[in-house]
Each structure stands twice: as C-alpha cells, then as structure tokens.
C-alpha cells in the first residue's frame, strides 16, 4: 500500500504548554496570597477586588480550568496526532480553540474580580462566559473527533478513550449545571433552587474533579509515562477495565459532598456506596502506572521526569484512597466544612495534577525544541522543593482540621459548648501560616522550572513540524481469529462516545430525576416565603462578595452544631434560593440561622470592622458596601426572573417592588439611627443587613403556626 506523507504540528502544543505554565504560576500566586490572607487579614487591603471572597474563586478557576485545562490540551494536541498518525483535523479550529480558551480565562479572571459570579463553586462564571465555554468546547470536540475519524491507525489507544470520555462528560456537566436565567448582562440566577440546585451543583462539582482533573490526566499518564519510561504500560487489559469501571462509577458519587445535609438520605447513601467502590478502579489505575516502571526503577533515580510521575501517581493513589474514606458518614462528620477537605484536594491538585504536568513539561519541551533538558539537576531540585511544599501544605491542614473539630464539638460537663467559634479560628491561624509557606515553596519550584525550560528552549531549535509517513486506513478490515472483545470498541470512536454518554447519563439521571419529580423529597413549609426585594438585592451582594467561600448555610443534625448555630436545616427552607448558598467550608461560622440573632447595628459595625464585634476575627472588612449605592433599577427584572422560575411573587409585583424596597431600607436606616448610626438608606450595606436578618428566620414562624394548630 502507498505511504502517505504528513506532519505533526508542534506549534499548538507549544502554545498550550506555555499557557499552562503561565496560568499555573498566576493561579498559584493568587492561591499563596489568599492563603496568607487567612492568617493576616490586612492582606485583603480593604479593596473589593482583592478580598478573599473574590480572589478564592479566581484561584480555583485559574488552577482548574487555566492550569490543568491548558495541560490537558497540551497533552491532547501532542499525543492524539501521533497516536492516530494524522495531523489534527483542522489547524484553524486548533487556533480558535487556543485563543478562545485564553480569552475565556481572561474574561473569567476580570469578571470574578469585579464580583460577577453565579455563586456556585467551580461554576462561578456568568452566563455569557458559560456560552463561550460551550462554543469553544464544541470547537475542541469537532477537532478531536474529526481527527479520530480521519485517522490512519485503526486502534484507539487507551489515552484517547480517556480524552473522549472527558470531553463528553464535561460537555454534559457544564450544560446541565449552567442552566441559568439571565437577569441582565453578567447577572443570572441558577434555574434550580435549594436542594435541587445543591444536588446538580455537586453532581457537577464532583464530576468536574473526575472528568476535568482526573480522567484527562489519566490519558496523559497512559501516554507520557510509558513514553518517558520507554516501556509499555504494565497491563493493557487493566487499563481497559480501569477506564470503563472508572467512568461508570464516578458519575454516581456526587452526593458524598452533601452528607448530613438536607439532601434526601437515600441519595446520600447512594453517593457513599459508589464512592467506596471507586477505590478499586482508581487503585487499579495507580498500580498500572507504578507497575509500568517495573524493572526500571534505576531510571527513576536518574530521570527527573519519572520522579515527578512516580510522586504524581502516588498522590493519585493517596487522594483516591482518602476520597472514599471522606465519603463515610462518620468521617465526613469531621471533615466536612473543615480544612481536611482543603488538604485532600491539594494532595490531588499539587501532587497529581501539578507533578504530572511538570513531568510532562520536562519531557515535552526538550522534544519540541529538539534538544536535551538544560539542567537535570535543577529539575531534581524542583522535584524536592515541590515535594516539600506539598508536605508542608497538607500536614498543617490535617492538623488544623482535627484540632478545630475537637474544639467545636467539645462540651463542658455542665452541657455547654466549651469553646467559641473564634477560639477554633485562632487555633487554626498558625497552621494557616505553615500552609501558606508550603504553598510558597511549591510555587518557588514552579519558577525554577520556568527558568530551566526557558534555558532549554533557548539552547534548542523549535521544530514547528515533524514529518511522518503512514499507510491510509484499510477500509476492508479483516478480524484476527483471536482478539479481545474490547478491541472492537477501541476502533469505533463515535460508538465509544455514545456508550460513554449512556453510561454516564444513566448514573446522573437516576440520581437527579427522582429528586426533581418526587415532591415529598422537599416538604413545603407554609411559613417559608419569598425574599422581599431588598433582601433579594442583599442576597445578590452576599453572592457577589463570595461570602459562601467561608460561610455555610447548612446546619447538620449534630448536637454541637444545633447548640452552636440553632435548629438543623430543613430542605423546605431553601425552595426560593436561586442559587443555593450552603457552602462547603466554614472558615467562619455557619449563617443558616443568623437572621434576628444580632441587632442591625451589630451587622453594620461587623461588616465595617469585623474585629470590633468579634475580637480575633480574620474576616476582611467591606468598606465599599458603605460607599456604593444599591442599583435598585435591577429590582424589576430580578423579581420578574424569580417569578419565571416559580417563586410566587404576585403578578404585577414588579411595579411596586421598588416602593417596598425603599420602605424596608428606610426602616433599617431609621433603626440604625436609633442606635446612633448615620447611614443613607440607599447604600448596599442596608440591603445586605436586610438579607442577613432574614436568613433562616421563616421556619421559626412554622413552629408558631404548628403550635396554634394543635
């Protein structure tokens, strides 16, 4: 058969690699800043754009979608053409993908700093950016599947299955979780409310970890680890089992983020069961990676690339052991809302994603520039610095989590809570300092890598194209007599795509549909009423300032939580919450029953200078809320949007909403005046106080109603 000549393009992989390292450094730098902010609140600078609540989503979005995202695309655009013996289907689409993704990152960073957020963790970006992500994701998919369809190699290597499943699932997750009702340009409300919103969000959140941080990086591992080690993967059969069992199990595990919350119990148990099962495929994959180095451990001693890979795969094993552990309800009782979760995700992010990326870069950049790595010694230094950084990051966080847990759950012999929340915060601060130092060291390693890679690039010559020859795919395929059944699927990319979709879709639907359809899952509480216009506006300020990053609104049914915060949360309390604001971390106390707990003046002073009301507080101050006026013109469209989503505001209420809003604002201003605080009623702080005074209050009315009935 005639050989066809073609070339592999190295420009796009190079672009993605540079973007990956650049955004990685930026994202980690923001991470280091917010880590220090928790220990030294003065670093919030009293400026809205640099407060923790706005920077933390920038950090998470940057490291997930910019650092790891560009890392995925580097691996995909380098490996897929070589595995399939064809250039990418369309060079134009590759370029659109690259520049589109970078523009999205810039738009994301700017909009989050400005306070445009949907308030849903890891899905904070507002609707115009969500649409842009969808379009660019489709461009990526068309390019990838186009390449697969025009391939010269019939067999789809295991790495490609992981890329395909990742693409499909991320597309589905992003679309389903991003159903939002636009109110204006850069403002929308989640279409789902309360418990439903929480379920969709954590189904998304968990699977973003699975299909953005894990499966594409497993594809990366299955390509670059054997290449760097110079030997095939330990067991190809195991990689097949790994793939199918992993994608099937992962999609069901989301509810483990909502244990002991108001989510129906059966959904929680389902999440736990599947999380435990996940241990098997995860460890299968880890062992497959490590065993690939069987008989080659001498190489690990010499080669920094393999050093990084070994620790990355080990970190994968550790965090996938820890994950099922954290899904056990009794363990989760300790870990949820604590720094343990933060330690857990950073073992994954710094160890698995970070080290796998670094290993790939040390292997790839010399290849692209047709040279050897500038300094193996510097790379080894980076390896040890990075490892030390991870240890210094994680251990203090575990320690802090346990200490604060024991403090917050302690009772005196008389049956009173032994410690105030602020005592636990104060205990955690030294550990926050250590954690920030660990992160700084890790980031230092990244700069060592940047220097090493720049030197490597300078000493080499960039190979823009690498030529290759291969025969076209034979249409008439003759099956060998003996073959594994799975190899059939490996040659059918569209089929694989569909099967992945079905497998993954069944998991999601079975979990979500009953909650949507069975009304009894969310008991309606007659006393729970929609927010007043002013409270609704205040809630949007709460969301914009990222309060949910440090405060939960979900009291679990434990004695020490009920004694500290008030009655445990019920599903029916959240039916008008678009989006839900349960949070996932308590750096500050829970706010589910904050309404009516303190006078208005307390909130006023606390938002201006938290330390004045809560000595020792690490909360930043929010002076701009006292300067900026509330945009009351948006009230009309917000009420309108809420009613369209089923919130029972009376028909035509838009017309008088502003009047109601002003009336309530003036009442609060008058109340503050009676406590000798002068503030105009049109400031944002008034709305925020109105919201905080409402949170969790309605259900207290329920008790009165029930008492009257009996």
């Amino acid at each position: 058969m005639e050989l066809q000549k073609f070339y592999y393009d190295n420009k796009i992989p190079k672009f993605f690699a540079v973007a990956c390292i650049f955004w990685g450094a930026v994202g980690m730098l923001v991470g280091v800043l917010i880590a220090f902010q928790l220990a030294f609140p003065v670093l919030n600078f009293g400026i809205e754009y640099t407060t923790f609540g706005r920077l933390r989503p920038i950090h998470t979005n940057a490291v997930i979608f910019a650092f790891v995202g560009n890392g995925i695309f580097t691996a995909v655009y380098y490996s897929i053409p070589r595995l399939l013996k064809t250039p990418m289907w369309s060079n134009a689409l590759s370029k659109i993908h690259f520049w589109g993704w970078q523009l999205i990152i810039v738009a994301a960073a700017l909009s989050l700093a400005m306070g445009f957020t949907t308030g849903k963790e890891y899905a904070e970006l507002e609707w115009p950016i969500d649409i842009a992500i969808t379009l660019i994701w489709v461009v990526f998919g068309v390019n990838m599947f186009g390449t697969i369809l025009t391939r010269r190699e019939r067999h789809l290597y295991v790495a490609i299955w992981f890329f395909i499943a990742s693409w499909v699932t991320v597309a589905m997750l992003h679309i389903v979780n991003s159903f939002e009702f636009p109110v204006s340009f850069m403002k929308s409300y989640s279409w789902y409310a309360g418990v439903q919103d929480a379920l969709v969000q954590w189904w998304y959140g968990h699977n973003a970890v699975a299909f953005f941080l894990t499966t594409p990086y497993l594809g990366l591992m299955y390509y670059f680890l054997p290449k760097a080690a110079g030997r095939p993967v330990y067991s190809y059969k195991l990689s097949i089992v790994h793939f199918w069992s992993l994608i099937f199990l992962y999609i069901w595990a989301g509810p483990h983020h909502l244990l002991y919350t108001a989510l129906p119990d059966w959904a929680q148990s389902l999440g736990t069961a599947f999380s435990i099962m996940l241990l098997l495929p995860s460890w299968g994959g880890m062992l497959n990676g490590l065993f690939t180095l069987r008989g080659a451990w001498d190489k690990v001693r010499e080669d920094p690339v393999l050093k990084f890979f070994v620790v990355a795969v080990t970190a994968y094993g550790m965090s996938t052991f820890e994950g099922p552990l954290l899904s056990l309800k009794n363990v989760n009782a300790i870990s949820h809302y604590s720094d343990w979760t933060v330690a857990h995700v950073h073992i994954g992010a710094l160890g698995w994603n970070g080290f796998l990326t670094f290993g790939m870069m040390y292997w790839l950049i010399p290849k692209l520039f047709d040279t050897k790595l500038y300094s193996k010694k510097l790379a080894a230094t980076h390896f040890w610095i990075g490892t030390l950084g991870i240890i210094l990051y994680a251990i203090p966080m575990y320690w802090a989590a346990f200490r604060t847990y024991f403090m917050l759950s302690a009772f005196t012999p008389e049956g009173q809570l032994q410690y105030q929340f602020i005592d636990a915060v104060q205990t955690a601060i030294p550990f926050y300092v250590l954690r920030a130092i660990g992160g700084t060291i890790y980031l230092g390693g990244v700069f060592v890598m940047v220097y090493n890679l720049v030197k490597t690039a300078k000493q080499g010559t960039f190979l823009a194209r690498e030529y290759a020859e291969a025969a076209p795919l034979n249409k008439q395929y003759v099956a060998p007599a003996k073959a594994h059944w799975h190899s059939y699927f490996e040659r059918k990319p569209m089929l694989l795509l569909v099967l992945s979709l079905i497998v993954v879709g069944i998991g999601g639907l079975v979990e979500m549909v009953p909650t949507f359809l069975i009304k009894s899952n969310v008991p309606t509480l007659s006393s729970v009423k929609p927010y007043t216009p002013l409270e609704l506006q205040g809630r949007d300020i709460y969301i914009a300032e990222g309060c949910y990053n440090c405060h939960s609104q979900m009291i679990r049914p434990f004695r020490y939580e009920v004694a500290r915060y008030g009655d445990y949360s019920k599903a029916g309390e959240f039916v008008y919450d678009h989006p839900f604001q349960w949070g996932s971390k308590r750096t500050g106390p829970d706010l589910a029953r904050i309404g009516g707990k303190y006078p208005n003046s307390w909130h006023f002073n606390h938002m201006l200078e938290p330390g004045s009301m809560a000595p020792g507080s690490i909360m930043p101050s929010y002076p701009w809320l006292f300067e900026k006026e509330l945009d009351i013109n948006s009230t009309n469209s917000k009420i309108h949007a809420m009613r369209n989503m089923g919130v029972p505001y009376p028909e035509g209420y838009e017309a008088i909403a502003k009047v109601d809003l002003k009336k309530q604002a003036e009442e609060i201003a008058a109340n503050l005046k009676s406590e000798k605080i002068d503030i105009k009623s049109d400031k944002q702080i008034i709305a925020l106080i109105a919201y905080l005074q409402r949170v969790g209050k309605d259900i207290k009315m329920e008790k009165k109603l029930t008492n009257q009935q009996h």
Binding site: R465, R491, M494, L501
Partner: protein, 53 residues
Amino acid sequence: MSIIILIAAVSILIAGGFLVAFLWGVKDGQFDDDFAPPNRILFDDTIKTKIKK
C-alpha cells in the same frame, strides 16, 4: 423543573439513535489484538528531515 424531563428525553432520543449505530457496528464486527497497541506508541515514526523554524 420540566426542563430536566426535556433534557432527559432528548438524551434518550440521541442515545437511541446511537444504539442503532452500535447494532450496525456489531454486525460489521471486527477485532484487534491488545498486545501491539501499548508497544506501538513507544516508536517514533517521524522522518528525520525536520523543518526547522
């Protein structure tokens, strides 16, 4: 929440269409070995005449 039912219906419809493709594929049945692929990726197939830029 009817939007979810709609999404589910559309998904099932598309999945059904792909199921047909799957059945067609089964009849077209082809097999491959699982020894060569992991080894094949280790070999670089690029021709040494590289264009430098």
